[in-house]
């Protein structure tokens, strides 16, 4: 015979062993949720910093999606690399023209006195299509979408969209963007003809033979984006077999006050790496279609 006290004690103390499957699933989902939540909170907490960063010129640093193509084509031609066994400008340009699309990855790591500035480090996925234009998706902390930028050939404009702040901005193409966007070989040649390059020889990248070129303090970047930097070294690696870019690396030193604002006036070093190129892949039209939600407002900067 159970008394009321006995039942109370029984109810207080009952336990039910969870199945191993349920245990694992709940724990995994909880840890994933926790991780995601902390990222979003981190992003939110640094929202103001990023807002300031977005207003600075640093995000425009590599905002011209086609710059790598123009620079690569140009330096190869004017770097005097036209020799029997070397990469030939005409081949590169032809290969780029024939590859109707491209997708690649770019990482930007910023450091100050050797210490990484994690809130300024971003990963970018770039898309390029002869038919539709270009687009980049900029992520912080691996999966927080900070900004999308569309270069629309049809509209002749660059449109930046910042989902975190539900804002967007439309800017007419710069002259340089229009030139590369128009894909006029003569115009690209004119743009880059004064650049001097150093040959780096050959090396293997991801199993492909590549030929490298290095440029210092090029003016081309400035033609595309209004960034003030103290120095720039950029290296481009071209696939010997396909004559298409395989990888690029750039190191910049910046004393721009918009950037050193975050480091107490100390110089910032930026390392940019573009890799994982996929040329002539099938890209859906909707990647390039701009759909700004109705509640987005125009950027305040």
């Amino acid at each position: 015979m159970r008394t009321a006290e006995n039942i109370e004690r029984f109810i207080r103390n009952i336990r039910y062993k969870t199945s191993a499957e349920m245990h694992e699933k709940t724990l995994k989902d909880a840890l994933d949720a926790r991780s995601q939540s902390r990222k979003v909170q981190w992003a939110s907490a640094h929202s103001n910093i990023w807002r300031i960063i977005m207003t600075s010129k640093i995000t425009k640093l590599s905002s011209a999606a086609l710059i790598v193509i123009a620079v690569t084509a140009g330096i190869i031609h004017f770097g005097g690399s036209i020799d029997g066994g070397g990469i030939v400008f005409a081949d590169v340009l032809k290969s780029i023209q024939e590859a109707n699309t491209a997708v690649w990855h770019e990482q930007r790591v910023m450091t100050c006195n050797g210490e990484e500035l994690p809130f300024l480090t971003t990963d970018v996925v770039r898309y390029y299509s002869v038919k539709y234009g270009a687009k980049e998706e900029m992520y912080a902390l691996k999966n927080i979408l900070l900004q999308e930028v569309y270069w629309s050939i049809e509209k002749g404009a660059r449109i930046e969209v910042a989902p975190l702040w539900k804002q967007y901005k439309r800017t007419e193409f710069t002259e340089a963007e229009r030139t590369v966007g128009g894909r006029s070989i003569e115009a690209i040649v004119e743009l880059v003809k004064s650049e001097k390059t150093t040959k780096l020889g050959r090396k293997t990248i991801n199993g492909r033979k590549a030929e490298g070129f290095e440029i210092h303090n090029t003016k081309i970047v400035g033609a595309f984006v209004p960034v003030e930097f103290d120095s720039l070294v950029a290296r481009f690696w071209i696939d010997v077999e396909t004559s298409l870019p395989l990888r690029y690396e750039a190191e910049l030193v910046i004393s721009d006050k918009h950037i050193t604002l975050f480091t107490g006036g100390k110089t910032v070093e930026v390392k940019v790496i573009g890799d994982e190129f996929q040329w002539d892949v099938e890209l859906e039209k909707d990647i390039f279609e701009l759909n700004i939600p109705p509640d987005y407002t125009e950027m305040e900067y």
């Binding site: 109370e8 009952i14 336990r15 062993k17 969870t18 699933k25 709940t26 949720a33 995601q36």
Partner: protein
Amino acid sequence: MEDKLLIWKLKKGSNEALCRIYEKYEEHLLASAISLLYDVSSAEDVVHDVFVSFAQSADKLKLNGNLKGYLTRCVVNLARDKIRAIQRHRVGLDKANPAGSDLQQPSHAVIRDEELDRLSQAMGSLPYEQRETIVLHLRGEMTFKAIARIQGVSINTVCSRYRYGLDKLRSLLNGEVKK
């Protein structure tokens, strides 16, 4: 480890603290959910959702009472939502099928523990308010006053729900009345 320390570590980003909290309370929470829902898979869903939600919002957590009570309240709230959803669904089915449906009966999922099974069956025959009051008081370690506040009724009503519920449970478990 003390719950306060676990919460502190969790807020500092410790995954280990999250695992520790889960392992400490999962069996308790699951048994509470089964007591309310009399259905193992629904109870597992509730515990899963409560814990994932807890993990998401841990940084905003401001614990007034103890962690066990807080998590039990979360289970009770979610179980209540689930019961309401089932009732809504049942109303819809009743309209379509006046002969009734399986959802009027407790689920048939097997409860492995015999004693818990008996208790769950007995709990399942109580009105939900009485069931909830018993779970909140005995398993969530909440006072009648606190339960009155969250149920939006007077403390006397809560005391009555508890007393009637417990009396009926005693009768059912002692075989004095048929379930």
